[in-house]
Amino acid sequence: MAIEMRCSRRQFLQQALLLGAATTMAAVPMSALAERAYCLLSARSDAAGQHFCAGYTQDGKQVFQTPVPQRCHDIAPHPFLPRVAFVARRPGTQVYWLDSRDGRILATLHARADRHFYGHSLFDAAGERLYLVENDTKQPGRGVVGVYRLQRERFVFEREFATHGIEPHQFVWLPDRSGFAIANGGVRTEANSREAMSDVVESSLTIVNLDGSLRSRDTLADVRASIRHVAVAQDGTLVTGQQYIFAEGNTLDDGYEPAHGGSLIAIKRPQQSLQLFPLAAAQMDGVNYYSASITVHNGLRWLAASAPRGNRLQIWHLDSTANLLDYALPDCAGIVAVDDGFIATSGQQACFQAHNANHSIVMQRLALPAGGWDNHLSIAYS
């Protein structure tokens, strides 16, 4: 069954124009998603420390699991070709360009001198350019977006522009494709290091036009909150997920009290500034001030976030902000929107699908292998 076993793309251009890159998958109308087979894409690692680029069908069949030297993070499927880019996480220096039908590595893009990757990338809708967030290690932390043109299975550097922030992490296309929303984590690191140079966090959410000019910049009052992940809804609403940076091993041991009871998630509705997304105290307790993947489901207007340190998957209504789900999922990792809800993976345990059942949520364990899934999950439709 080629449709189940391969991440091939047929009649995909129209869908791709809707889908764009990984983080905008939730923008697909529900009617377009119904009844389609898809392939889940994620970076994985095993207990022995081997890293993989992986593709699985939704019913748990392995399409490919390709060993790679560097641990990857986010995934950028090509909008209409059976190709996918897996990006090494910080301070990685490689992007693996795979045939998504069998996992063959077709090319490896190496970081330029004085640059390393931050783990996230996006394709443009035409499938001609790959955008990668990078660290300018001559000025550690200064974020840039490197633009690479795809030419005959190779990526050729074209230009770069500033993210107007420190340590860019996830970024998304704006719905009209006029630019990007970029989560600048704000933590300065040197080349070859994941260690923060200090506990000062200079985080921001910037809107950057395609020509590299700055359109807007938002910050949070909480000085320890690092804006690291961002999702976009079809109406342009942006949601960010924060991770707290603490001096002593990312714990609350130093007695720091977050402003406003914590700003784990923030929201920037159209024409508004970035504001805290209201979370009940009970939702903050136990998540250890750390969110990972954050995803919007446009059809349902739901927002999902994974909290791998708190071992929870949480879902809210984007408009009412009501909490709809608080589910115990150890090392909850990547999340992607699918037909009637979300699929969530785990670094340690089984993967689950959260189904919408008349506006309540039913959790279903999936046949995907348990554990070893990195913090981001993407999808490619057949």
């Binding site: 994985r44 136990g286 791998p308 340190r309 708190g310 150890p330 909850c332 348990a370 554990g371």
Partner: protein, 351 residues
């Protein structure tokens, strides 16, 4: 050995088929032993000790028993809580106990400050007001402040009445928490851990991985609790007021209870059995690490503050810390790898 490691890694990543029947059987047997013979009795023991402690606090507040009697029940409740740590797997996010039961580390003496602030409001305290308030006034740390703080004279009826209002609500809260968790474990969660596959776990390795993570976390917390008190790792400057149970002087007693509980999970049909089937030499190393640690603990019978008063005993505490650290690392690095369990991934090393 190399082949076996590859096999373990392969199975974890879902790269090969089902485990052998023998391996599955041993994993299932281990899970059954850990859940039925260790975890469920530990939860029942914790609930029982909380019941006894709550009753003792009511009797003390009614003037029916002496302070020493209720203090000894506080110690028993602490030890039962410490013994629970290696099997502390929350059935759901709402069951995440942690700070609800013990506020540690209390770097800024919040248990004292916030207890006094709460009592100065002179409002009637209820379980609800406690649940809505700061975690610093809940559980064992606040109760220890009430019962053991040297500034308190609980023989004085006025002081006793003041502190008893918080003590009794607190012990009732702690009891209710333990009753709820015990019920969930007995009625649902133990079955979920043992009867795989189910809605939560794909196979027997899922529950075992959760239990091993709880065990390793318990070691890590024990190591930190001792370490911060004696200044390890670091420049050796002790921070005795950041130790667990410093007011009661039972810091090392709590550690002893934690080590004994971990050993109970190791011995018999526990982790040792599974480890030995995969790497006999690792099982031997962990045996030896336990023996050395427990022998060292047996040497250190005085309260922590008196041990910190002499250079010789400070060195002995440093040895103890090193042994605890060794055991923690054996579990975290070697045992987890031998069992094919990835302890931390995104939660500890994500992005």
């Amino acid at each position: 050995m190399k082949f076996y490691r590859s096999l373990v890694a392969c199975c974890f990543a879902g790269l090969c088929g089902a485990n052998s029947a023998l391996a599955a059987s041993l994993e299932q047997q281990t899970a059954e032993h850990l859940v039925n013979n260790i975890a469920l009795p530990a939860y029942a023991n914790w609930q029982h000790n909380n019941q006894v402690f709550h009753t003792a606090s009511e009797q003390f507040c009614a003037g029916k028993i002496e302070l020493t009697a209720v203090r000894s029940q506080w110690l028993a409740a602490l030890h039962a809580w410490v013994a629970l740590q290696p099997v502390l797997v929350p059935p759901s996010p709402a069951d995440h106990l942690g700070l609800q039961i013990q506020f540690w580390p209390d770097k800024r003496n919040l248990a004292a400050k916030q207890s006094e602030e709460l009592l100065n409001k002179k409002e009637a305290l209820t379980a609800d007001s406690l649940a809505k308030g700061s975690v610093a006034v809940r559980g064992l740390t606040a109760s220890e402040y009430i019962l053991f703080d040297r500034a308190h004279n609980l023989a004085d009826p006025t002081q006793r009445a003041r502190y008893c209002s918080l003590l009794q609500v607190n012990t009732a809260y702690q009891l209710a928490q333990s009753q709820h968790i015990l019920k969930v474990w007995q009625q649902e969660f133990a079955q979920q851990l043992l009867q795989t596959p189910n809605a939560r776990y794909a196979d027997a390795m899922g529950p075992l991985a959760e239990l091993l993570r709880a065990q390793v976390t318990a070691f890590d917390v024990m190591r930190k609790k001792l370490g911060v008190a004696i200044g390890q790792p670091g420049d050796g400057t002790p921070q005795p007021y950041q130790a667990e149970a410093w007011r009661s002087g039972d810091t090392l007693g709590g550690l002893q209870a934690g080590v004994m509980a971990s050993r109970a999970l190791w011995d018999g049909g526990g982790w040792r059995n599974l480890a030995h089937s995969k790497q006999p030499e690792l099982a031997q190393k962990i045996d030896e690490a336990y023996t050395a640690l427990q022998a060292q603990l047996a040497k250190l019978q005085s309260p922590l503050d008196s041990l910190l008063a002499t250079e010789a005993s400070k060195q002995q505490l440093k040895v103890l810390y090193g042994q605890l650290n060794t055991l923690h690392l054996l579990y975290e690095k070697e045992l987890s790898k031998a069992l094919g369990v990835q302890l931390g991934f995104n939660g500890t090393d994500g992005d």
